[in-house]
Amino acid sequence: MTDRAADGNSAALLVDGLVAGYGEVTALNDVTVTAQAGGITAVLGANGAGKTTLLRAVSGLIRPRRGRILLADHDVAGRSPEQIVRAGIAHVPEGQGVIPELTVEENLRIGMMSWRGGRPARAAAMEEEYTRFKPLADRRRKLASTLSGGERQMLVIARALLARPRVLLLDEPSLGLAPRVMAQVMDLVVRLSRERGLTIVLVEQNARSALAVADHGVVLNLGRVVASADAATLAADVALRHHYLGF
């Protein structure tokens, strides 16, 4: 039974009634989010709203207390991260993703750890990413610590893509980047979705730029969903923007 969103697209990822937290703190309370296949869903809200917790629950870093996480009818709630990435969800965590002590190439190879394929296939896949991300190709044998902020973001996204996911969770990809680089990253996110049909769940503090690229948006506040609508509607709702999104 495939859950269908209003416009008839099937949902690649459905988070249903999720309750999760840390120790005695409940960070997510009955959260439901639908991510359309091939689209970009933005998860917005102030600090502490639960955005990162949501992604961590979906990717398995935290075990949810209640609720389902359906990936094409398959409930993956409570599985380990290693299993979930093999099921097809890749998570690019906030702020930490590059392993600076390893080279660019080694960082990328890690992305393929969930594969079963042989060397030729892996080498080909890596070349593909190098073609897509030229700066990484230039630095392939250098330590990842030598990359700039924007290049690091490219690296973690490339690595996540190498896991061949169906759903990509991006946590604050533009954090700490200069505005021009931020724009490039957003551009990249859009292209990933359009060109590859990747379903993207995008957590962003910068709600304005997120809504500019997203198809659909969900606003969280203190662990609950306070709004869920297509991006244009949310962007037009001035009261909502002022109250929860800061612009």
């Binding site: 840390y22 955005k51 990162t52 075990r63």
Partner: protein
């Protein structure tokens, strides 16, 4: 301060009981009473150091050696009254504890464990290296006699038991006071979160050194008692095994708990001989018999850490509260160190239930 009279009353009662037992029981039991008292003195200091201030020491056997050798040398060369010698031994060891504490103030976790481990192994070898002064392998003999006023027929073992028990009780009362004082609270604060403690205005380094000083003084006293009870001070008596035994007793009894020090000491002193007797009476060789307690200690340490974090004392408190019901004024308090953030917490393997901030 209200509780001090109560503690003294308890101590006096225990002292009377011990005196009674020592008169009724035979010389071997007297010796065991002394052994237990010595162990309690040392373990109590260690359990405060590790349980309250969070600093692990695998070298308290070295402090016992310092106390023992100081005692032996003073008695041998100067023949001062033993109570004076005990105090001096404690003071000398306390000074050594200060030195170690200062050197160790910046060390944490495995680095601290390693340094104290090496201390425990290296210090006794001083006695071998300078055999002239310290008696080398054979060690130094200690002569300890019953004072005249007790009469000619008073058994030496009973006197040794009385002296040891008295010292142990005094130490326990003093430590109990420290535990409840500001110093004890500061130790717990430093153990739980050094950064928060600093922000609270606590001088973390001073608190840590103080803990080492106290623990060393206790170990030094225990070593001094060991000297006068066993009559011999030699490097072979202060091996790594001793330091590990102290830690084992502290953990099994309940880290950070003074009653726990007593339980742990009882186990460490009484169980081996009992088990060996049982084993040999069933036909097992004495080698096997003497190793069974060792295997048991290993298993106990593991079980306590994994399943019963507060050791025997924790188990007893839970039994008591099960009978009496939850009592808001009860003194059930956390005796095990709380989970604290180590400097390299961000390297720990991610668990399913990470405790990090929300976003």
């Amino acid at each position: 301060m209200r509780t001090l009279p109560r503690r003294l009353a308890v101590a006096v009662i225990v002292a009377v009981i011990v005196a009674f037992l020592s008169i009724k029981l035979n010389a071997f039991r007297d010796y065991q009473i002394a052994e237990i008292a010595i162990e309690v003195t040392a373990v109590a200091g260690l359990t405060m150091l590790t349980g309250l201030s969070g600093q692990i020491s695998l070298g308290n056997g070295a402090f016992m050696a310092i106390g023992a050798y100081t005692t032996a040398l003073l008695l041998m060369h100067l023949n001062w009254p033993f109570y004076l010698v005990l105090v001096i031994a404690a003071a000398v060891t306390a000074a050594a504890g200060a030195v170690v504490g200062i050197a160790a103030a910046r060390l944490h976790g495995p680095y601290l464990a390693g340094a104290t481990l090496l201390l425990g192994v290296a210090l006794p070898s001083l006695a071998l290296a300078y055999a002239g002064a310290f008696g080398g392998d054979q060690g130094l003999n200690v002569v300890f006699t019953v004072p005249a006023f007790l009469g000619v027929n008073f058994p030496l073992t009973r006197w040794q038991a009385w002296v040891s028990a008295l010292v142990a009780l005094i130490v326990l009362v003093l430590l109990a006071n420290l535990d409840r004082s500001r110093i004890g609270r500061n130790w717990r604060a430093v153990r739980d979160n050094e950064v928060a403690a600093t922000l609270d205005g606590i001088n973390v380094a001073a608190a840590r050194v103080r803990a080492f000083v106290v623990s060393a003084a206790c170990a030094g006293l225990a070593g001094a008692l060991l000297a006068i009870v066993t009559g011999l001070v030699a490097p072979g008596g202060f091996t790594l095994t001793l330091s590990i035994a102290l830690l084992t007793a502290a953990v099994i009894g309940g880290l950070g708990s003074l009653p726990g020090a007593l339980w742990g000491s009882l186990v460490i002193v009484l169980v081996p001989t009992y088990v060996t007797d049982v084993a040999t009476s069933h036909g097992l060789s004495s080698t096997v018999g003497s190793n069974i307690p060792i295997v048991a200690y290993g298993v106990l340490l593991i079980l306590v850490m994994l399943v019963f974090p507060n050791g025997i004392q924790g188990g007893l408190l839970r039994l008591v509260s099960a009978f009496l019901g939850p009592d808001p004024k009860s003194r059930i308090r956390r005796t095990a160190p709380a989970p604290h953030v180590t400097p390299s917490a961000d390297e720990a393997p991610a668990s399913q239930h990470e405790k990090e901030g929300t976003s």
